[in-house]
Amino acid sequence: MANVNDYVIEVRDLVVKYGERTVLDGINFRVPRGQTFVILGGSGCGKSTLLRNIVGLMRPHSGRIFINGQDFTAMNDRGRIAVRKKMGVCFQGSALFNSMTVGDNVALPLREHTKLEESTIEIMTKIKLELVGLGGFEDFMPAELSGGMKKRAGLARAMAMDPEIICYDEPSAGLDPIVAAGLDALIRKMQHTFNLTSIVVTHEMSSVELIADTVCMLKDGRIVEMGDMGRLRASSHPFVQQFLDRRPDEEGEGGSEYLRSLTGGD
C-alpha cells in the first residue's frame, strides 16, 4: 500500500456551489502516485466541475484539496500557479488555439512559464509531438488535423511542462471507437512511462475498462460507488448497474441532454 505522502491528490469533504445551487456535495477520495482515477457519471452530474476544482480553476465552497500533501485550496495565487505547473490538463474539445501552428500550441506553456532557450523549446515540442504520434506535424494548423489528431495535439500541449499530474475531460468524446481506443492506449502509455498520476473524466465504459485503476461513480453531485472495476461490477447500487449495462435512463436524462444541445443553455 502506498504511504501517506504518496497520495498525490486528496479531496476532503468537497462542496461546490454555483450560486445557491450545490453541484458537488461531500466528495472524498485520494489518488496514489502513478494511478489512474476515473470519474464516471451521466451528463450534468458535476464531473467537469470536480476537475476544475482539482486543477485550481475554481475555488470550492468548502472542503480541501491536497496536492502532494499541500492544501491547494488554502494557497495564495502564487502558490497555486506553482502547483498548477505540475499539472497538465486536456480540456473537453482540444482547446487548441486555431490561429497558431500545432507546434506553437505545444510550445506556448514553455514560452510563458520557463526561461528555456527557444532552441531547447523547439526540440522539446518535437519530442512531445513524437510522443503522441504526431511527429512532423509541428507546422500544421489545428484546422488541418482530424478530431483524433487534435486530441493528441492537446495531449502534447498538456505534457509540454512534463507534469506529474494529468487531467483529461472526456478525452474520447466525439471520436469513432477505433480512434478513441487509440487515445485510451496513449493515455495508458503516458501513465506507465512517466508514472503520471491521471484523472480521467468520462462516460465511456469501454475507456474505463482499459485505463482505470480506481473508478468513482458520481450521481447528482455525490459519489455513489468507488473502487476498482470489480467492486463496481459487484455494486448493488441500481444506478451503477444501470450505467454498466448502459441502459437508457428511465428518467429521460438523455432527453434533457438532447434539449440542452438544441437550445444551447441549461
Partner: protein
C-alpha cells in the same frame, strides 16, 4: 530540484558530470556548460549521467542540442552510465539509438 555540474578534462575528452535533477529549471545551466565546452572544439564531450536521478524532456532536448552542435563541428559526443529512469526517458523519445551511450565512465 538542485543540479550540480562538474567538468574535468581527460586526454581524449571533456567530461561533464551532472548530479541531481535535470529539469525545466536546471537544464539551462547544463546547456550552458555543454555548449561552452563544445565551442572550444578541441575534444570530444562526454556527459556523465550516472548520478542524474530525474531528467525531463528539457534535459533530453539539451542533450539533443549538444549532439547536434557536436555533429556539426565533427566532434565526438557521448553519454555515460545513464540510470534506468533516464534510459527510459531516452527510449521513449526514441533517442537511445541516436546517442552513443557508454556504460562506464
Amino acid at each position: 530540484m538542485a543540479l550540480d555540474i562538474d567538468k574535468r578534462e581527460t586526454d581524449s575528452s571533456w567530461m561533464v558530470k551532472a548530479k541531481g535533477d535535470v529539469d525545466l529549471y536546471t537544464s539551462p545551466a547544463l546547456r550552458g556548460v555543454i555548449l561552452k565546452l563544445l565551442a572550444k572544439g578541441d575534444k570530444a564531450l562526454g556527459v556523465d549521467l550516472s548520478e542524474v536521478l530525474y531528467m525531463d524532456s528539457s534535459g533530453v532536448a539539451t542533450l539533443v542540442e549538444g549532439l547536434k552542435v557536436a555533429n556539426n563541428a565533427k566532434t565526438g559526443f557521448f553519454l555515460t552510465a545513464p540510470s534506468e529512469s533516464v534510459m527510459k526517458v531516452l527510449q521513449l523519445a526514441r533517442l537511445d539509438a541516436v546517442f552513443e551511450i557508454r556504460n562506464s565512465v
